[in-house]
């Protein structure tokens, strides 16, 4: 610790957003970086806790106090090494992670956590700009070929770790470009796609082979892959969106958020349109679902020039401020306002959508009611409409952002014929990441269900370690299989 009383004498200062009026006209990063001298000062606020709650609260267990200390000493180079020790892609998490670390920070007991995410982002951005991020070739190859299905953060982290152990991973991706949700799910104004490209370049140099446009289970079966590879890691997403099957669902103008966001991202990337465009321009847009995907839809719709944007959330409005005595260091339930919210949206809470109304097959309005929670027959809370609370909302475009129920059951999952969990995820435990099928491993959202990028990275890394250990422990098995 360079400054034991830094937390008392230095005020928290974080990155700010560019002005909403300005940023809403482009797809550039909404965040304005902090001067690095200020980042250094902010790192001095870290108290190097005996129990660093941030470090445990972080899914990849970033060594936050260690790199905070190094940054405060202006030792960015070593800070980068310590950051990379636990996190393959801090440039992603430094931008899109909700930062449970900051919620858990000891200074968050009174709302002034260390700006951990900003420090993280600055370390890695600097690492790239200084040219410190270089391919790290394994000194020896093992000759083990491993197929990684899915190129989202889990698949990428897994593949990079495997490559660095000397194995030879190939990443299969059904889309035309690598990155999964990072590529087509998150808008550019939150994650610029060039960040992905430079990482991929590094990974290719490290020996990772990428196979886009290969839909495993469709273009090639798992069995076929297992002929050529020592093993397979299923690292796909939880892509099955939650639907709202009420009357009028079939009307046009009602889409899953991911369809909308993917098209938008392709357009921003200058890629050819695929199918019918979905555009919010001049429309009254209703986003159903109050999470991050919903926010991404709002931001995109505003950038496309929507006439109005309304967000509906079934749950009641959470408190503005959490009760720290009972919540810290956990992730608290409280009202969160994203940059997209700031750009213009009506937020409605405790709202049930009961029906979509339309005209000429095109949605025109939502019929809604206020929702309340009552005790159900089994003692669990159930949602029901408040009587006589019905109202209507005008709608030209309705986007479902109510989360995902699990991985798609076709494609790789079907082809692998692995056992599923009751929730419909691929069943595998986190100590070995092995599925019910020999030589098939699984990690990421496909295994755990929808989650954060940072969890995907963690699973990818852990799975790679499990694969490495398995290969070391049972070296003969794959060879025997290959002879076939």
């Amino acid at each position: 610790m360079t400054n034991p009383t830094g937390f008392l004498t230095i005020e928290r200062r974080d990155r700010t957003y560019r002005p909403a009026k300005e940023r809403v006209h482009d797809y550039q990063d909404v965040v304005a970086p902090l001067p690095d001298a200020e980042v250094r000062r902010q790192a001095e606020r870290c108290m190097d806790c005996g129990v660093p709650f941030c470090h445990s609260g972080c899914p990849v267990n970033n060594l936050i106090p260690e790199w905070n200390d190094l940054v405060s000493r202006d030792d960015w180079r070593n800070a980068l090494d310590r950051l990379h020790k636990t996190n393959n892609f801090p440039e992603f998490t430094g931008r899109v992670c909700p930062a449970p670390c900051e919620a858990a920070c000891t200074l968050n007991i009174d709302d002034n956590p260390v700006t951990i995410k900003t420090v993280e982002c600055e370390i890695i951005d600097r690492g790239f700009s200084e040219g410190w991020v270089k391919p790290r070739m394994a000194p020896h190859g093992t000759g083990k070929r491993i197929a990684v299905v899915g190129s989202g953060p889990a698949g990428l982290a897994c593949a990079q770790q495997l490559a660095r152990m000397g194995h030879a991973p190939t990443v299969f991706e059904k889309a035309d470009r690598i990155g999964g949700l990072l590529r087509y799910g998150i808008p550019d104004f939150k994650l610029d796609k060039s960040l992905i490209d430079r990482r991929i370049a590094q990974m290719e140099a490290e020996g990772v082979i990428f196979r886009p446009n290969m839909h495993v289970g469709v273009d090639v079966s798992i069995d076929r892959i297992l002929d050529d590879y020592h093993l397979v890691v299923l690292a796909g997403g939880a892509e099955q969106p939650r639907d709202l099957p009420v009357q009028g669902r079939e009307l046009s103008g009602i889409h899953f958020a991911m369809e909308y966001l993917t098209l938008s991202n392709r357009r921003v990337a200058g890629l050819p349109e695929q199918g019918e465009p979905i555009l919010a321009t001049g429309k009254h847009v209703i986003v159903i679902g109050g999470g991050d995907t919903g926010s991404d839809c709002i931001g995109t719709a505003n950038r496309q020039g929507a006439a109005s944007v309304t967000q509906l959330e079934i749950m009641p409005q959470p408190p503005m401020r959490e009760n720290k005595a009972l919540s810290w260091p956990l992730w608290p339930l409280k009202l969160r306002t994203s940059s997209s919210h700031e750009e213009g949206v009506e937020r409605e809470f405790a709202v049930l959508t009961t029906e979509f109304a339309g005209k000429d097959g095109q949605v025109t309005a939502l019929k809604c009611a206020r929702a309340e929670f009552v005790d159900g027959p089994d003692g669990r809370k159930v949602i029901q409409p408040v009587s006589a609370s019905e109202f209507e909302l005008k709608a030209d475009l309705v986007l479902f952002a109510m989360g995902f129920t699990g991985p798609r059951q076709d494609g790789a999952v079907a082809s692998a014929a692995v056992e599923l969990s009751p929730q419909g995820n691929v069943k595998a435990a986190t100590d070995d990441y092995r599925t019910s099928r020999d030589r098939v491993f699984a990690c990421g959202d496909m295994r755990r269900g929808q989650s954060l990028v940072v969890w995907a990275i963690r699973e990818g890394r852990e799975c790679a370690a499990a694969v490495g250990a398995w290969l070391q422990a049972e070296p003969k098995q794959p060879e025997a299989a290959l002879v076939r």
Partner: protein
């Protein structure tokens, strides 16, 4: 019981300690009489309170006396027996304790007679010694041997009496040494009982398991007028156990001893290592018959006696031999005569000091004397009468001698010797004895010619440096972590200090850890508690020394040589350059030394067998080298590479050291280690403890070099500071055990091993105590190989984070984690039982994951559990809960009062910690809450310990040690001492406060009894508790504490501890409470003492399960510290020592204190949750009350961790051992002993009557006079006390210890005579006067009037002593004013306030650690300067304004009639210039600041 118990469960008789009172009376002119013997017996009776009694009040710990051979008695016997007795000096008497069983007795006698015959001496006959066992305790009678004396005449083959004595030794050794084996072989177990208390032609010992007043009646000889002697040496024993043993009574053949030899393990090892180098022209072939010179399993005194008799037999004069064994502190003593220093330095290479607190009386029948350890840690007072008697004893006043006959009263001073030569008929003083010996040989010349200091040798070749690329790999191979860099190496290289941390440790012991741990982690440092004191290595640096001798040691008995080459280093850490000097020393010193480097690595891929082979190879190479005349071995792991794994250096060192000892070759070579592994202080200490004479931590140096980032000046400075930090740290670790020299620490094995397999310990760390079994070579091999593998694995080149200290997910496991803290806090704040259950489940699950020893214990749940309603209610259970000692000062008032209120509400107890308590907390609040802590702690600093503080308690806890840093003191820096803290501690704001490592009134077990006696007098209603820390042998200490009449004993685990502590101690000292508690329970049950005391476990208790296990292992009560703090908001920042606690607990910063959100309800909720969880367990075990559960180890079972790669060898069955005794297993509310205080009672009766005056005689058995009165005054009138002059008592005679302790304002005690130790302890406003009677034929100013450690922790009041005081006068004085006419060493040590006037000489180390107050010393000869402590932060000035001083001297004169004061006042104008005023810088600055503040306030 018929025999003393053998090793069983965790109890090991080897841990027993004893201490005592001793004395002698001698007629200087060698006039023998029986009257003198009666006087000796009288001394014993008057020292009775220094001994102890066990469960049976008739059973003492034994006593005895040594006299000259009473020729008349044996002549009469010879006549009667019709045998011929040679003339005196030509026959010897063997005092024999023969086996009671006839068969064994006959064999014993036959053996003895045979060796008499073989050695050419003549048996005259056996004399039955008349004894009278009437009045002895049953146990003593059952054990009583058949006492007989064998009379042996000098044979024709010995030329004189000295040669005769040597033969007698050879006979005794040959008779006794093989007895144990013989007993087994002949199947005569009682044969081993045969014991020879003395066998000499000059002296005779009568001793046994008798009370002091029984010795004379038991041995009828002693009252037989035919029995005369000109000297009597007596001893009263205080043992920590209650097992009768006739052998263990003192005196031994030459000595009796009060104190303890801390280094005895090493001393015995080294003595036995001399086998091949020892040769004596005098003993010749007889020497070989005497092995083992010191048999194992003896007491420290018996061992010392064996060493002494060897030296004497080898031709050393008695005094000379004592100087060798117990040298003065000579290194760095500028005041010492250079010849004497040369003498000591010369012998330093021959004999490692027998170090520890010791007052030793010794005699060979021709001379008698006494000597004191280098630090003067035991009292020894003597007086000389006008009719040629010298009386020396642990106390003054043990023989009633009319004052007018006493021509001199003095004391033994640290390291000094008193010798009476009966043949010359005179007293030989210390200077004469020592200078004559020092001048007997040209020691200085010899040293000049033979001794080389490494620093004077020319530089050798540049050492290898590690290439940058390899540095990281090597660091990883040796297990370096980021934490090592950040918390250890960098701070040491930058600050030059051993780093500090806080909040204890919550990680598993090494054997239970999933991580590969360094072998050092399996060793826990021992520390002194109760039976001996730790030392303050900073403030008392004058006794400390890091000097090490490398290389072969000369023949101990060939002392007339002076040709032996020796290599000295001023401290044991060698730089890389130093090591090269040693490596090439053969060329530098022309072959006087020859070195060889032994490779301590083993090949990659090997298993345990490969490691074992490598260790064997290493040992074999060592032997070969020594036999080839190599005399310095360098054991080195420099050969570490990707193909070679380093052997753990502790293993390599211990293996070579013990191997060479076993081969008798160890003394022929030096042992130096070159290691990349050792880096922390603890590592160095382990290596030193197992025989490394010097250590080169090469990789640590290279790492520090690299940390400097290419700045070579910074690198060099960093390395120097690192060495300095290690040196300080090693001194601290040594001093914890009370050891002051590296030479006696080296090889002394002052460690407990935890989790090392027995076989491993026996082979490589022979003699180390192994509390629980554990790993063997294969697990160690695996751990080492794992480190090596990870270093050369491909994934990451970065160092691991570590996580031992600050938690990391991939690092070492911790109990306090994100989840456990979050769940506990949410549970108590929201009163949510589910959250508590989640918390307890995690902690208890951690236990199963082997974070703790108790994790391997499992309840034996019963087939028919009871309903939870039948279990005693939680409200009853929580009354047994207490919160840990945390001082106001270390934690905020908010946090402190929150705990107190909570505990008072539920009927539990909170603890003040050290540092007093604000008096406003003694009164109830309007809402009925009470902020008073029920437990008042008395710690070594005695801050705020007033009579008022003591009386406002339900329990008074004497903190002997604390879990986080046992054996160490503490320090509160000046900036933390704000007005409030200063007020409650009775000190000055802004002035730093030091708590010394020892209680300066507890250097020994009988001292503890005295302090308990004092405190009980002040507050007879309070329980007296003693807090100990778990280590091997704590059970035995606890038994001793119980015998000191304590009501309550706390056994604290090493995990515990808040506040600041050096990381070295925090992580590496002490054992888990499970071990200490179980050992204590077993020992107390075995001693029939269990029912008398309440036992408390403390240190890392967190859940109901923990409580249940503690109860079953023997705890009646349960202490919690960290958990209730966490309930109140602590989040384990571990920044207590920085004052930056962000939740307002461990801080005094008002801004941070405002952040405190804890409430009593949180703490209460926590304790009730724990109690409810406990009740569920109790129900499942079918027990209704805790009393049914306590000590019932059958309720637990040990779960063998067979599945764990490392812990699989652990065996906790010893913890679950139940001694076969019927007595109670839990506390039985033993009635407290009524304490008598007739003088006090008389004064108390006068209390309400206004001014009163009494006159009474007083004796040394009247102890703590004034204490009970003061408690009573404080109860009625508070600290303010009575108006001055209300009560006055004039007492005539010698006052017992603690005269005027805690004396309240309004009382004056005037003593006509003298006082013993601790006069004016805790003086709280009263006035003490001591003066000699007017008719005393001696100068008051040249004679001693009060003993050691007077005015310790005094708070207010006045003292006037017309005479000289002993050592440590006014130590930790907070505010008393005193005048004295001379003082011993360490005067004004740690003083923080008050005024001391010394009208005479002071000893060395004046004002050490003095941070406040003023002293005036009259120094007409200008010698005072040389007495000032080296590190003292004080200003010496002439007295400018002498008005106050003159008034004090005037008052001294008026009150005592002091002739010296009178003379000074008569010539005041001259004299006043001869005074030196002493004032600490810090104090002066603080006073100025206060004054400025005061002015500022006034101006407003």
């Amino acid at each position: 019981m018929t025999t003393p118990p053998v090793k069983q469960g965790l109890y090991d008789p080897a841990n027993e300690r004893d201490s005592c009172g001793m004395g002698f009376v001698v007629h200087v002119k060698n006039e023998r009489s029986n009257a003198l013997i009666q006087q000796g017996l009288q001394i014993l009776i008057n020292l009775d309170h220094r001994g102890a009694r066990g469960a049976d009040p008739k059973l003492g710990d034994g006593c005895g006396c040594l006299i000259q051979i009473p020729d008349a008695l044996f002549r009469a016997w010879a006549e009667e027996q019709r045998v011929t007795l040679p003339s005196p000096g030509d026959y010897a008497v063997a005092m024999c304790f023969l086996p009671r069983e006839e068969g064994a007795r006959e064999v014993a006698k036959e053996r003895f007679e045979r060796f008499v015959r073989i050695e050419g001496q003549l048996l005259v006959g056996w004399r039955d010694v008349p004894t009278n066992p009437e009045g002895l305790a049953d146990a003593a009678i059952k054990q009583m041997p058949v006492v007989a004396q064998a009379v042996v005449a000098r044979g024709p083959n010995v030329k004189d009496q000295d040669a005769f004595e040597r033969k007698l030794l050879a006979i005794r050794k040959q008779t006794q040494n093989p007895l144990a084996d013989l007993a087994e072989k002949k199947d005569l177990p009682r044969l081993a009982d045969f014991y020879i208390p003395s066998f000499s032609s000059r002296t005779l010992v009568y001793k046994g398991m008798v009370l002091s007043d029984q010795l004379g009646t038991f041995y009828k000889d002693l009252t037989n007028p035919l029995v005369t002697s000109a000297l009597v040496m007596v001893h009263q024993r205080f043992s920590t156990n209650t097992f009768p043993s006739w052998k263990l009574a003192h005196p031994y053949r030459f000595i009796c001893h009060n104190g303890e030899i801390n280094t005895v393990r090493g001393n015995v090892n080294w003595m036995n290592a001399r086998r091949r180098t020892l040769e004596s022209p005098l003993l010749g072939a007889d020497l070989d018959k005497m092995w083992p010179l010191i048999p194992h399993g003896q007491s420290d005194t018996a061992s010392l006696d064996n060493a002494l008799e060897l030296l004497i037999a080898g031709g050393y004069p008695l005094a000379h031999a004592m100087m060798l064994l117990v040298p003065e502190a000579w290194a760095g003593n500028a005041q010492m005569d250079p010849k004497r220093r040369a003498f000591y330095e010369y012998y330093a290479a021959l004999m490692e000091p027998w170090d520890g607190p010791a007052a030793i009386a010794f005699t060979d029948g021709r001379q008698i004397g006494a000597t004191l350890d280098r630090n003067g840690l035991r009292p020894a007072r003597f007086c000389v009468t006008d009719d040629n008697l010298v009386i020396m004893a642990s106390e003054s006043g043990v023989l009633p001698i009319p004052e007018e006959k006493i021509v001199r009263k003095w004391r033994l001073q640290p390291g000094k010797m008193l010798l009476i030569d009966l043949e010359q008929g005179r007293i030989v003083d210390d200077a004469e004895v020592k200078s004559s010996l020092a001048e007997a040989a040209p020691y200085g010349d010899w040293l000049r010619d033979t001794q080389f200091n490494l620093k004077d040798l020319p530089a050798a070749a540049e050492p290898k440096t590690v290439a940058d690329d390899d540095l990281r790999l090597l660091q990883k191979a040796f297990g370096y972590t980021e934490e090592d860099m950040k918390y250890f190496l960098a701070p040491m290289a930058e600050g030059g200090d051993d780093p500090i941390g806080s909040m204890g440790t919550d990680t598993p012991v090494a054997v239970l850890s999933d991580k590969p741990r360094l072998l050092y982690d399996y060793f826990k440092q021992n520390f002194a508690q109760v039976t001996n004191p730790p030392i303050d290595p900073i403030r008392e640096s004058l006794v400390m020394s890091l000097v090490s001798m490398i290389g072969p040691r000369p023949n101990l008995l060939g002392h007339h040589a002076g040709t032996h080459k020796r290599l000295e280093v001023s401290q044991p850490i060698l730089s890389n350059q130093d090591l090269e000097k040693i490596r090439s020393i053969e060329e530098t010193l022309d072959g006087a030394f020859k070195t060889v480097t032994l490779d301590a690595t083993w090949p990659k891929g090997g298993d345990a067998q490969a490691l074992e082979a490598a260790v064997k190879r290493l040992c074999w190479e060592a032997t070969e080298a020594v036999l080839a005349d190599v005399n310095v071995l360098i054991v080195s792991d420099r050969g570490t590479s990707d193909n070679r794994i380093p052997i753990p250096m502790a293993l390599a060192t211990g293996a070579v050291h013990h191997h060479l000892i076993r081969q008798g070759l160890r003394m022929q070579t030096g042992l130096v280690v070159e290691t990349g592994e050792a880096r922390e202080v603890h590592h160095m200490c382990v290596l030193a403890g197992y025989g490394a004479e010097a250590i080169n931590p090469w990789l640590a140096f290279d790492t520090i070099g690299a940390l400097a980032g290419g700045d070579s000046a910074r690198a060099e400075a960093g390395k120097e500071k690192y060495v300095k930090a290690l040196g300080k740290g090693i001194l601290k670790v040594m001093s914890k055990m009370g050891i002051s020299t590296y030479q006696s620490y080296c090889g002394a094995q002052i460690f407990d091993s935890i989790g090392l397999g027995e076989q491993l310990v026996d082979t490589y760390f022979t003699g180390t105590s192994a509390s629980i079994d554990g790993v063997g070579l294969s697990e160690i091999a695996e751990e080492t190989a794992r480190r090596h593998r990870s270093a050369f694995a491909v994934e990451s080149t970065l160092l691991d984070s570590g996580g031992m200290w600050a938690q990391r997910v991939t690092g070492e496991a911790h109990a306090w984690t994100f989840d456990s803290i979050a769940n506990l806090q949410h549970a108590v704040r929201g009163a949510i039982p589910e959250k508590y259950r989640a918390f307890a489940a995690e902690i208890n699950e951690q236990s199963r994951r082997k974070l703790t020893l108790r994790g391997m214990l499992e309840f034996r749940t019963t087939a028919d559990p009871i309903s939870i309603e039948e279990v005693e209610p939680a409200t009853a259970i929580v009354k047994r809960f207490v919160t840990g000692a945390m001082s106001f000062g270390s934690i905020s008032r908010e946090a402190h009062t929150t705990l107190a209120i909570a505990m008072n509400r539920i009927g539990g107890k909170s603890n003040t910690g050290e540092g007093g308590e604000e008096p406003d907390r003694f009164r109830e609040l309007s809402n009925g809450d009470l902020m008073r802590s029920a437990i008042k702690q008395v710690a070594s600093g005695r801050f705020g310990v007033t009579a008022e503080y003591l009386i406002n308690s339900d329990e008074i806890q004497i903190k002997i040690a604390q879990g986080a840093k046992p054996g160490e003191g503490g320090q509160l820096p000046g900036h933390k001492v704000d007005r409030n803290i200063a007020a409650v501690r009775h000190s000055t704001p802004g002035v730093g406060l030091i708590s010394p490592p020892p209680h300066h009134d507890i250097y020994s077990i009988e001292d503890l009894a005295q302090l308990i006696f004092d405190l009980r007098h002040v507050n007879p209603a309070a329980r007296i508790s003693v807090k100990l820390v778990s280590e091997t042998g704590v059970g035995t200490v606890a038994a001793g504490v119980a015998k000191c009449t304590a009501d309550h004993i706390t056994i604290s685990g090493y995990e515990g501890g808040t506040g600041a502590s050096p990381l070295t101690s925090l992580l590496h000292a002490g054992l888990p409470w499970e071990i200490g508690l179980a050992e204590t329970q077993q020992t107390l049950v075995l001693n029939d003492l269990r029912g008398r005391v309440t036992l408390q476990a403390d240190g890392g208790l967190r859940t109901g399960r923990d409580v249940a296990i503690a109860a079953i292992l023997g705890a009646d009560e349960f202490g919690f510290a960290t958990a209730p703090l966490i309930a109140a908001g602590c989040i384990m920042m571990r920044k207590c020592h920085l004052n930056t606690c962000p939740v307002g607990i461990a801080t005094q910063d008002p801004v941070l204190r405002a952040r405190f959100t804890g409430a009593p309800e949180h703490v209460i909720n926590y304790f009730f949750f724990v109690a409810e969880e406990l009740r569920e367990i109790m129900a499942s075990l079918g027990v209704r009350t805790l009393d049914e559960m306590i000590g019932h180890v059958e309720l637990l079972r040990f779960v063998d961790p067979a599945d764990h790669w490392k812990a699989k060898g652990v065996d906790l069955d010893k913890l679950l051992y139940q001694p076969k005794r019927d007595g109670p297993r839990c506390s039985e509310n033993w009635p407290r002993r009524e304490v008598e205080a007739p003088i006090d009672d008389q004064l108390i009766a006068l209390l309400e009557q206004g001014p009163a005056f009494v006159e009474e005689p007083i004796g040394n058995v009247d102890r703590a006079v004034g204490a009970r009165l003061s408690g009573e005054i404080a109860k009625r009138y508070g600290h303010a006390g009575l108006p001055d002059g209300t009560l006055r008592a004039t007492l005539t005679g010698t006052a017992g210890q603690s005269f005027g302790a805690f004396l309240s304002r309004g009382v004056t005690l005037e003593l006509v005579g003298d006082a013993n130790d601790y006069a004016g302890k805790g003086l709280a406003g009263g006035t003490l006067i001591a003066r000699p009677p007017e008719d005393a034929p001696r100068e008051a100013g040249d004679n001693i009037i009060v003993g050691n450690t007077c005015l310790y922790g005094a708070i207010a009041g006045e003292a006037y002593f017309s005479g000289v005081a002993g050592e440590r006068f006014a130590v930790r004085n907070s505010g008393a004013t005193a005048v004295v006419e001379g003082a011993g060493d360490h005067c004004c040590e740690y003083m923080t306030g008050g005024t001391i006037v010394v009208l005479g000489h002071v000893g060395r180390n004046f004002a050490a650690g003095m941070s406040g107050g003023t002293a005036y010393v009259w120094d007409p000869e200008g010698r005072f300067m040389s007495c000032i402590s080296d590190g003292a932060q004080i200003a010496l000035d002439p007295v400018e304004d002498d008005g106050d001083l003159q008034a004090l001297v005037q008052r001294h004169f008026e009150l005592t009639g002091s002739k010296r004061a009178e003379a000074l006042l008569a010539d005041w104008r001259t004299v006043r210039k001869q005074f030196v005023q002493v004032m600490p810088h810090e104090y002066r600055r603080a006073l100025a600041e206060l004054e400025a503040e005061g002015t500022a306030i006034a101006a407003e």
